[in-house]
Amino acid sequence: MTATAVAPRLRGIQHRRFTVLMILLAAVLAGVVLSVTIGAKPVPLADAWHALTAPTGSENDIVIRSLRLPRTALGVVAGLALGVAGALMQGHTRNPLADPGLLGVTQGAAFAMVASIILLGASSLLGHIWFGLAGALLASAGVFALGMVGGRGGPTPVTLALAGTAVSAFLYALTSAIVLLDEQAMDVFRFWQAGSIAARGSEVVWQVLPFIVAGLVLAMVNAPGLNALSLGEDVARGLGQNIPLTRAVGVTAVTLLSGASVAACGALAFVGLIVPHLARSLSGTDHRWLLPYSGLVGAALLLLADVIGRVVAPPGELEVGVVLALLGAPFFVVLVRRRKPVRL
């Protein structure tokens, strides 16, 4: 092969990657259709379309516009966010078992929510979300600062993981203490902990959307740097990558993405653990493709799990977090056992 013969190969790969991207987009779209039409009250596709384009105030229209649509939108947004956050986290730590919760966002959000209930009497879900988001961001900033103290010249994946574990354990202890003492806090907490995208209303989607869009932009900016970092810090530095800046951008993106979705949907971080493995089997190790694939796989998976949760136990519903864990755990075991664990 000569210098020119590399070109068709690269073009072939680009073509295949683009095709997979289209297939994943179609999968998300299918998930959206299922999520809008399937539920306790099945709505035919034609009626659903009617509700979206020319609502007349019929029962179907109300179900679609005020319940199904916000729920579906939140599923897409949170799935995208958690999938991308998981891939970022695994890329930065070079650890296939890392998930976005490693930065303390989940426990930070949980603690801020229950604290807001007992201290300020915040009772609306809306209030909880702002507190949850603030808690997630603060916890992550704390973890980053602690990680910085331990490492030389910026936090390393190891110091971040250690700081994240310590901060999470500490916050979890505080949260447990509060919910044991306060019944109202317990009530909010146990539903939040299961993880759900139901009954949130469209305003919740709009509240978290700016954070998630910002996180997705930072993630894509981070992708080439992550490719360099995946060859080790010394090689990345040799290739002209600014390591502390790359780490900071990555941690900020993970915090925004997972903080916003955890505050809105509860503890769904498991998505961030398994989705990147699925996406990686389609994309290979190039983060410029792995990140978008992870986002789309995350969105499709979250929607599908939510739809399954609606139909599996009529007349009730199973929370999407529960479905994800029930489906995901055995799947993950198979994935890990089928091949030797991935080295990143």
Binding site: M1, T2, A3, V6, A7, L231, D234, G240, Q241, G284
Partner: protein, 260 residues
């Protein structure tokens, strides 16, 4: 001087490994740093490649302070290959070499015809074009090391720092890698600085040897000037005879020991 260390103090945290060292690397030469384990030769190479920030003194690249030049600009002139680098599983040779183009890419312009030409040229120069599709994990140690060198070549720099490029390789593969290094030097007059453990191979493939001990340069010059029986005793505490290599005429170290 392409690359110069001026009165550098190097170390990790409180531990100082090199103190007050001066070294200049001339353009178009192959220089090898030798010395016993822990003498600071890898530390020095890391500092020359701005992977390690000196605690004192300065490193000059083409006369300018390397730490004041944007790291991406440095990466267009200077390539560094650390000791025993690792790649993610499943990465193919072509993908690894393509990542060498990183300093020439921006997030909005990811792949150009320059990149393509550089990757193709690097692969054919190291004789890996036929293995371009193969995952790195499936290659032999020598092939894998050649793939990493290709990545550094695709970076398009005429100054290369290689930290123990022959570690973990059998003798045949060590020779293969060093032949490649010599070829890179001959083909485009690249300036190359290496750290090697094998003194005889270092003498064979190098223009200049730098011998270090306890963070200091003990001797520097052409191999026959540096590799003497006195120096081996002073630097390695090794009693040895130095004879002429029957193939190349370069110094050949024969340890004496007590066994026979």
């Amino acid at each position: 001087m392409r690359l110069q260390a001026v009165d550098v103090k190097l170390g990790y945290g409180d531990r100082t490994i090199v103190d007050g060292l001066d070294l200049g690397i001339e353009a178009g030469t192959v220089t090898t740093i030798i010395g016993p384990n822990g003498c600071g030769k890898s530390t020095l190479l890391r500092a020359l490649g701005r992977l390690l920030k000196p605690q004192g003194g300065e490193v000059l690249l083409d006369g300018k302070r390397i730490d004041r030049t944007p790291t991406r600009e440095v990466a267009k002139v200077l390539g560094v290959l650390p000791q025993a680098p690792t790649a993610p599983e499943g990465l193919t040779v072509a993908d690894l070499v393509a990542r060498g183009r990183h300093p020439h890419q921006t997030w909005y312009r990811q792949w150009s015809s320059d990149d393509e030409a550089a990757v193709g040229a690097a692969l054919s120069m190291t004789g890996l074009a036929d293995l371009a599709e193969r995952p790195l994990d499936e290659l032999s140690g020598g092939q894998r090391q050649r793939a990493w060198i290709s990545m550094a070549l695709a970076q398009g720099t005429d100054l290369l720092l290689l930290d123990e490029p022959t570690t973990f390789l059998d003798l045949a593969h060590q020779v293969e890698v060093l032949e490649l290094v010599r070829h890179l030097h001959g083909a485009a007059g690249r300036t190359i600085v290496m750290v090697l453990h094998d003194l005889n191979l270092a003498a064979r493939y190098t223009d200049r040897l730098v011998a270090m001990r306890d963070g200091r340069v003990v001797a520097a010059g052409e191999p026959h000037e540096v590799l003497t029986e006195e120096l081996l005793r002073a630097v390695f505490e090794l009693d040895a005879k130095v004879i002429a290599d029957p193939v190349a005429g370069t110094p050949l170290v024969v340890p004496i020991g007590t066994h026979r």
